[in-house]
């Protein structure tokens, strides 16, 4: 009997989402399959999940080991600039940071996307319309300096945020081909350049 109670307890303690019932999950998958359609560039296959998306689709993050495994895999996706140059034009970077358009079914092309950074981050001293889903990046370069480590880390974070936090809310801008290498260089300049309004009042 003692064994049974422990087992019952264990079962009750399982994370509810997927474990709730195999049947409900099967019905859920069928429901998702019949509920969506392709419109414009937003193809129906967008509803099929990548492993990393699936692992981060419950009300609680997955186990530490699972997160570590995802982060190790995602780290391998990062492509650093082939020419070794990390910084473009901060003025172009600001436009990309402000622009939240792209990849919806009302957008004509999967190219020319904005970074949508201001949806989630404070950045410039002057832009007051910023979101708070991510931390403030105000004075990013000024407070972090421009050492190799921080520059490489920041590139990596923009390229694939999941390499550093498996279930990050931040998109994988490089890995998911949301932004081009040039756009990411411009954003790097926006974050680090001493003349950029991120660092200069």
């Amino acid at each position: 009997m003692k064994k049974l109670t422990t087992l019952a307890l264990l079962l009750a303690a399982l994370p509810t989402a997927w474990a709730a019932s195999e049947d409900t999950y099967a019905e859920f998958k069928a429901m998702m399959d019949r509920s969506f359609k392709t419109t414009g560039i937003a193809a129906k296959h967008r509803m099929y999940q990548l492993d990393l998306q699936k692992a981060c689709s419950q009300d609680k993050p997955p186990a530490k080991e699972v997160q570590a495994k995802i982060e190790a895999e995602q780290l391998k996706t990062i492509r650093y600039p082939a020419d070794g140059k990390y910084f473009g034009d901060w003025k172009a970077g600001e436009k990309i940071a402000v622009d939240g358009r792209g990849l919806t079914w009302t957008d004509k092309t999967p190219l020319n996307n904005g970074g949508g950074c201001y949806n989630c981050h404070q950045m410039s001293h002057h832009e007051v319309s910023y979101g708070t889903i991510g931390p403030s990046l105000l004075e990013y370069g000024k407070t972090r300096g421009n050492g190799d480590d921080i520059v490489k880390y920041t590139w990596g974070k923009i390229y694939n945020a999941k390499a550093f936090n498996a279930c990050s809310n931040m998109p994988r801008n490089g890995d998911a081909e949301i932004l081009t290498e040039k756009q990411m260089k411009d954003l790097m300049a926006y974050l680090f350049d001493p003349q950029s309004p991120v660092n200069k009042k």
Binding site: A17, F28, M31, S35, T39, R46, Q53, E127, S129, I133
Partner: protein, 270 residues
């Protein structure tokens, strides 16, 4: 709309459009919104849409040339008062959980002979979809001030809730977003837009209970299906089919989380 309202609406639209150009401060923007809300206290622009909807409710239409006056929204044939505060609901006659819009489609089909596909296939605010919006405005006005009261006892409702919760956390698409990315934390914003935490009773009551709503920024009345559709668009998923089960499941999840909260419909939004 009277002139003062028009001017305010215009000022607000201009300030929202100007947002990207910065300098326009957040305080000014929020002041504008509040001022507009006050001005609306004695006249919600959706009243016009609701009046159209009431007219439509009583007009004989469709192949069967009948009105919707015998439509059963869950409280019995013809009962509109308080009905939408208790939706979505499990309906025995269709064997399905339905939200207001899919239930209205059932009434249009059975009473008037109108093919549901005419609503499903129409564009937002066009054709039968526009008529649907008017009907919705009429019906939800009759639940203003009621309490959100969805009956979670039927097993079908419980299953829809579970599936709605799964859908809420379901990450997909090129940006890996789920509903929870934007609505799964307290006190967050996107740009200047405050985001309700829809996992909580207070957040869901505020978010669910204030829709359908009149949107000041584009002068349109939006149904809940329209709201959800636009959030999926921002999420970068494929497009949810109008009235599809994922939209019903999410509606059950939101309404049940908000149970007991106050219905303020039609709401007035940015």
């Amino acid at each position: 709309m009277n002139n003062r309202l028009k001017t305010l609406a215009l000022a607000l639209v201009v300030s929202i459009v100007g947002q990207a150009q910065a300098e326009d401060t957040s305080a000014k923007l929020l002041d504008g919104i509040n001022e507009y809300r006050d001005a609306l206290a004695d006249g919600n622009p959706s009243e016009l849409v609701a009046a159209e909807g009431e007219e439509l409710w009583k007009t004989a239409r469709g192949p069967k040339n009948a009105t919707l006056e015998r439509c059963d929204l869950g409280l019995g044939p013809g009962v509109v008062k308080g009905a939408s505060a208790q939706l979505p609901r499990y309906f025995k006659d269709t064997g399905k959980v339905q939200d207001l819009e899919t239930r209205l489609m059932t009434c249009m089909e059975t009473l008037q002979g109108i093919d549901p596909q005419e609503v499903v296939k129409a564009k937002w605010l066009k054709g039968e979809r526009e008529k649907m919006a008017a009907l919705v405005a009429y019906v939800v006005t009759q639940s203003n001030g009621h309490k959100i009261k969805v009956d979670m006892r039927p097993p079908a409702m419980k299953q829809m809730y579970e599936m709605g919760k799964m859908a809420f956390y379901y990450r997909a698409g090129p940006m890996d977003f789920s509903c929870a990315t934007c609505h799964g934390d307290q006190g967050k914003r996107i740009r200047m837009q405050e985001l309700p935490d829809l996992r909580t009773n207070a957040g869901a009551a505020a978010g669910w209970g204030s829709w359908p709503a009149y949107r000041v920024s584009n002068g349109q009345f939006w149904t809940m299906q329209h709201r959800l559709n636009d959030c999926f668009r921002q999420q970068r998923t494929a497009e949810p089919i109008y009235g599809s089960d994922v939209t019903i499941a999410l509606s059950v999840y939101l309404a049940a989380n908000g149970n007991g909260g106050k219905v303020v419909t039609p709401g007035i939004k940015r």
